[in-house]
Amino acid sequence: MNRITIKLKRNIDSELDLRNISKIDFENNLTQISKIKLLFQNREINLGKLFNLKIKKINGKNNELIVLNLNQNCNYLGWKWKKDILKVNSNVGSFLGAKMSGGEIHVNGSVKNFTGSQMTNGKILIKSNSLDFVGSSLPGNKTGMSGGVIIINGNTRDYLGLNMRKGLIFVAGSSRNYCCNNMIAGTVIIKNGIGKFFGIGMRRGTVFSHKKVSVGDFFIESNELHPIFFNLLYNFLYKNYGLKVFNKNKIFRRFFGDKNVDGVGELLITK
């Protein structure tokens, strides 16, 4: 297996489109990596002109791409990422892991908007925060993420899980407004608070939260529940990501909505 490390040579002060980095072929044509075309200041530029490149053989199951010294102007990293591991040691811009279908993306920093939008599989792990539209649909589209896992150890802002169809989003902190709007299915766990206008147009799907959520009158309180599924979820997150979600034997208050669209999405709030 190969570990490819690319390090930015200069400060990026305007938008850098990194989507073609996903075209790196770890098995063949390693010499062509520096000729991959990136889009910087609306002009094509070879990767080799912006990044220093280092290739090393490693023992392991997966190839690794390590990207150093990016900033929030660097967008589309991990676009349509298919397999292998992508590691980022800094903050990164928008569209991280958008449309990805496999592999892992680890970010040791914060991310801007549209993280994991329309992803179908794979894992995104973010050490800090992410802004708007986590796991949502991309602009002009109606379908959000439909598989995979997004783990955010910080907070998120608005429109988390917009149009989400499947998959799992875990937020260790809180989320702001318009969370899980038009959600069709999937699982969202937000350990702390959720802002206003939660679950508008929600049809199905499950949202776990620790604190009281403002659901207005379009969610109906059902009953207290200790879902056995929560044990599975707890074990899954603990074994795979070392995360402890609430207490294992928690009892939840259960709400159904959005009743305006005859939705049966469920909101489970720890009791």
Partner: protein
């Protein structure tokens, strides 16, 4: 001195699957498993052979509750699918607090929750975690959790040995000792009641509709009427049938069972250990008793 007859057990390839049944406590997990494995002694008329493989502590089950691992064997994939769904639906889903998960993986899927979900009448919820998918079916005590698919694997059915002795008391005692030991082993089940069968069968019958009938050569009451394999001092024969995942598992189970009888102190009246076979013509898996215990 117990004589080990120079013969062999003849076993057949089967389709198998492992399921894990969990519940609020061990008692209810076991009740569901026992119900699931009810009327599953022989493929001759039950459709499948099933049994409890092993009890599982909370730390070894998918949902962290006490559980039981069950093995199911059938002669065809179609029959295995049918039996799994019917038994999971009627015996496990009906038992309070239970959940059911697949206990093995393979390429060959058997719809489990995928078929049972319709009981939810539209209120069922599908959840995917990693590469596994579960169904949450609303029931009157909460939710029945059921994994989307069980998985088919190769198995072997019909490993066996016969215990021959002077009377019922001593032969039954010996069989119980062997069963106790064999029940601790993984990858095998003893599908008959208490692990022991008294009505060993042969293929065919004088009656057209029957595919199996009594193994008259080992029936003490027919001695003198038919060509018997019993000597004058043998008045009881019991059989232990073993289904397992592979040859090594069955061989190991037979060895443990037979050696437990041979080495059991104070066990009197058992004269011989034999095995049931069809002359080696039907089943591809042959377990020679002398090789098995060596």
């Amino acid at each position: 001195m117990i004589d080990i007859e120079d013969t062999f057990a003849e076993a057949f390839p089967m389709k198998a699957s492992r399921l894990i049944i969990t519940a609020f406590n061990k008692k209810w997990a076991k009740k569901a498993a026992e119900s699931f494995c009810g009327f599953a002694t022989s493929v001759i008329a039950c459709g499948c052979e099933a049994g409890i493989e092993i009890d599982l502590p909370s730390s070894q089950t998918p949902d962290g509750r006490p559980g039981v691992s069950v093995l199911v064997f059938a002669v065809s994939s179609k029959e295995l699918e049918k039996q799994l769904v019917n038994r999971a639906g009627q015996c496990v889903m009906t038992t309070p607090t239970t959940a059911i998960f697949s206990g093995n993986t393979s390429e060959d899927k058997i719809p489990l929750g995928n078929a049972l979900r319709y009981f939810g009448d539209g209120f069922q919820i599908s959840k995917s975690l990693g590469d596994r998918r579960y169904w949450r079916i609303p029931v009157m005590d909460g939710e029945f959790i059921c994994e989307d698919f069980a998985y088919k694997m190769k198995g072997i059915g019909g490993g066996n040995f016969l215990i021959l002795g002077e009377n019922t008391e001593c032969v039954l005692g010996a069989a119980e000792i062997a069963v106790k030991k064999m029940n601790k082993l993984k990858n095998v089940i003893l599908p008959f009641p208490g692990g022991i069968v008294r009505s060993g069968s042969k293929v065919g019958s004088k009656y057209k509709n029957l595919i199996a009938s009594t193994n008259f050569e080992y029936c003490p009451s027919l001695k003198g009427v038919v060509k018997s394999k019993l000597d004058n001092n043998t008045r009881c024969v019991l059989e232990i049938v073993i289904d397992g995942i592979n040859e090594e598992d069955i061989s190991s189970a037979m060895r443990h069972g037979i050696l437990e009888i041979i080495n059991s102190k104070g066990l009197k009246g058992v004269s011989r250990i034999s095995a049931g076979n069809y002359g080696g013509k039907l089943g591809p898996h042959l377990f020679k008793l002398k090789s098995v215990i060596s």
